[in-house]
């Protein structure tokens, strides 16, 4: 995707847990913070709800980056240990991405508390800058020897 001037504008899909990260994205709004409009946020109740197939679907449909974000370990999770479930799933998943020709930098697992609106803005800025450097996602579908 590119804007009117033809500059590459990456599109990022975000899965945010209701209790921490989604609340942080709301706080960024109520605090009138400013960040690039490249993110699309999907609310889930817990980062532990995020199925890796959602992330793959997003990449398959054209996402340049995906962020899964939840509550800080060890004890911020609203559901005791959903953040650990997400951590275990996505640390493994990250390794698989490379084998599919998707750079690991296109995926981020983040812990952002309800109060950390500035952290949210920072993550968006970093991700946008990084994806601009990487360019659009072109999955490398050649089979490697």
């Amino acid at each position: 995707m590119s804007d009117s001037k033809g500059e590459f504008e990456p599109k990022i899909v975000v899965y945010a847990c209701n209790w921490c990260t989604y609340a942080a994205t709301d706080l960024a709004g109520t605090s009138r913070m400013s960040y690039p409009p490249n993110v699309r946020i999907i609310r889930v109740m817990c980062s532990g709800r995020v199925d890796p197939q959602f992330v793959l679907q997003a990449f398959a449909d054209g996402a340049d980056g995906v962020i899964v974000a939840g509550c800080h370990p060890p004890a911020d999770c609203h559901y005791i240990e959903g953040n650990y479930k997400a951590y275990r799933r996505f640390e493994l998943f990250r390794k698989l991405l490379e084998t599919m020709g998707i750079e690991q930098e296109r995926f981020r697992l983040e812990w952002i508390s309800a109060a950390e609106a500035s952290r949210w803005v920072q993550v968006v800025n970093e991700m946008v800058a990084q994806l601009k450097k990487l360019g659009p996602l072109k999955p490398n579908l050649e089979v490697r020897e």
């Binding site: 409009p37 109740m45 709800r49 197939q53 609203h78």
Partner: protein, 650 residues
């Protein structure tokens, strides 16, 4: 899905909050082009009464069966619009919010880009809305009663609050008397001690018919869910009943002597004993663990109060909620830690507190090793704040205040005794700070050590403490007659059993963890179970009492309606797809899922009242049989695909 979705989209201006940055008319026009959208409108304030009426009228006029409100965050107005759609006869879970204020108009400034983004957010919400289903809230009856585990100050306070409100309370205590540690020691303010507060609470409990006190009792099994718990309680025999007049003749003839835990081992007690003079229930008890049943006490009792044939029994109770207030254990110094266990004049703060009690073996006199010490030193942070390899990281909160209060008492009674307090930092927080000042005026000597902890030497000439005084940066040697180790708090010894029975979880320090320190304080992660007092970590007496009140208030707010509403956004099993692999059983943080046999097939079963709706089972299910209602795979995939204009077929 039986009915083709008919969706209405309502784009809010929020005054200029949205309309100032987002071209709301364009967004509404765009929404009309989306599949299944029947009507799309914009309005200045959707949450206002005319705004809500607009939606309600449209639901009827256009026969809408889904509504998308494109406005602010669902955390703000989801409930408002759910109520509005349900007033128009639509199931309230057929509403979806598109957050174009917090996520768009308030954080972006470029009008064109913000409008494009808002359109996509609406497209995502519409895509999800196409797959929404009506959901029904369930209601279960709730027992207006509570089980309180632990008869310390926190548990007693919780029991009294609940009983005052009209609930039946079972106060379960492992020991033969309620009262906990505060009944023995503890500082509250210069005029009030722990035992004073406890005896006032006893008076109230005595007069309260709704509180049933079960001593020598423990919870051995807990099943059910919020509002409907079944608790199995084992009651160990006390062998002494209410005919006891406290004459004490039995105690004299009892041949068994053991260390007296109610004086922290300062003296011995018999197998038949009264824990302390105003213990409750107010009669003797036989320690069933050490009694040899010689029958001497039974023979000498003139009131027929003793029955050695009593058997342990198990009772079952039905309760609506459970409050866990089983407290702490004092830190146990290892042998040789600051000379502990090697010299009779080295005692713990808990022992000193008992010694200064009028009921003590010395009748409240400070007699250690046969005489009043001419000099006595307190060593702080024993077992706390990483002072020794076995010590905990945390501060135990009560030891500084208790030690300084005792030091003042000693100085008042024995002005010639030199009192030293060796400390790392003084933590007399809040109004207790005045104690610290007063101790200075009374010439209690404070000696600060940092990382180099004091060394205790036991010599033929007496006890010596070598310490590097941090303020003057010099090694000093203090000859003392007695040493008091200000020990901290540990999680109770039997916490493992508690965890196994109640399914609570522990934090890093070994205490029970609250569901969320900020969002769900006092609550255990399992609905209907609440926590009070030192079971969640060190607290002073007042803090424990307050937490007891808080836990009771939460239990009451849960049970007061006589029924509990179960949120419908929980896990649901598709029995046709489920293979019974049980992966979901392992990932559920609430033990809400079990495997049942249905017509010979293994099928996952969700206990609705236990499910809290996190959806982690859905993410783990390999066959898509487990679905998180309101956040089903198809709903979230549709939302994902809609980011890029793609669709999931209905």
């Amino acid at each position: 899905m039986t009915e083709e979705p008919r969706i209405g989209v309502y784009v809010c201006h929020c005054g200029f909050n949205i309309a100032g940055t987002v071209d709301v008319k364009k967004v509404a026009e765009f929404a009309k082009t989306l599949p299944n959208v029947v009507v799309a409108k914009d309005y200045v304030f959707m949450c206002s009464e005319p705004g809500q009426d607009l939606i309600k009228a449209d639901i009827k006029a256009h026969n809408l069966n889904r509504v998308v409100v494109s406005a602010c965050s669902p955390s703000l107005h989801e409930i408002t619009f759910r109520t509005a759609v349900s007033e128009a006869g639509l199931n309230k879970y057929l509403l979806e919010m598109a957050n174009i204020r917090e996520h768009c108009s308030w954080v972006h400034h470029d009008k064109e880009k913000a409008t494009e983004k808002a359109k996509e957010i609406v497209r995502m919400a519409v895509a999800k809305a196409r797959h929404l289903e009506p959901l029904e809230e369930l209601e279960v009856k709730a027992e207006p009663s509570a089980l309180v585990l632990g008869g310390g100050v926190a548990g007693m306070r919780a029991a009294l609050e609940l009983a005052n409100y009209g609930f039946n309370v079972y106060l379960v205590e492992k020991a033969p008397t309620i009262g906990g540690k505060a009944a023995l020691i503890g500082y509250i303010d210069p005029k009030t001690k722990g035992p004073d507060v406890v005896s006032k609470m006893f008076d109230r409990i005595k007069d309260c018919p709704r509180i049933q006190v079960l001593t020598n009792a423990e919870l051995i099994q807990l099943s059910g869910f919020a509002g409907n718990y079944n608790a199995k309680i084992r009651i160990n025999p006390r062998y002494v009943n209410e005919k006891c007049t406290l004459c004490g003749e039995c105690e004299e003839v009892c041949p068994i002597e053991v260390s007296n835990e109610y004086n922290f081992g300062l003296n011995k007690r018999k197998a038949i004993f009264l824990p302390f003079s105003n213990a409750y229930p107010p009669y003797y008890a036989i320690d069933y663990r050490v009694c040899v049943k010689c029958g001497e006490c039974e023979k000498v009792c003139r009131f027929g109060a003793i029955n050695l044939k009593e058997e342990p029994k198990t009772i079952e109770l039905k309760v609506g909620s459970v409050i866990i207030a089983t407290g702490y254990d004092p830190y146990r110094p290892f042998k040789g830690e600051y000379g502990y266990g090697l010299h009779q004049n080295i005692i713990t703060l808990f022992q000193l507190e008992r010694l200064l009690d009028p009921e003590s073996p010395t009748k409240g006199e400070l007699i250690i090793g046969g005489k009043v010490p001419k000099s006595i030193a307190f060593i702080q942070c024993v077992g706390s704040r990483n002072t020794t390899p076995g010590a905990k990281e945390y501060c135990s909160r009560m030891c500084c205040t208790t030690a300084i209060n005792s030091a003042i008492k000693i100085k008042e009674k024995y002005p010639d005794t030199n009192v030293y307090i060796l400390y790392k930092d003084i933590m007399t927080y809040g109004s207790d700070e005045t104690l610290y000042e007063e101790a200075g005026k009374k010439l209690v000597q404070f000696i600060k050590f940092e990382d180099k902890i004091p060394k205790v030497s036991i010599t033929p000439e007496g006890l010596f403490i070598d310490v590097f005084e941090y303020t003057i940066q010099e090694n000093i040697r203090i000859p003392v007659d007695a040493i008091v180790l200000s020990i901290g708090m540990l999680p109770p010894r039997d916490i493992e059993e508690l965890i196994a029975v109640t399914r609570v979880s522990c934090g890093g320090e070994g205490f029970v963890r609250e569901a969320h320190l900020k969002l769900a304080p006092v609550e255990a992660p399992t609905k209907g179970i609440f926590l009070a007092g030192c079971i969640t970590g060190p607290k002073n007496i007042l803090e424990s009492i307050r937490m007891g009140s808080a836990a009771a208030a939460k239990a009451m707010s849960l049970l007061s309606k006589g029924k509990i509403t179960i949120e419908p956004m929980i896990a649901q099993v598709n029995e046709e797809k489920c293979s019974g692999c049980a992966i979901c059983v392992g990932v559920c943080p609430y033990s809400a899922i079990s495997i049942k046999k249905v017509n010979g097939d293994r099928i996952a079963y969700v206990e609705k009242a236990l499910c809290m709706g996190c959806g982690t089972c859905n993410a783990a299910c390999p066959s898509g049989a487990m679905q998180h209602l309101g956040f089903k795979d198809i709903q979230l995939l549709a939302q994902t695909r809609a980011v890029f204009g793609g669709e999931m077929n209905v």
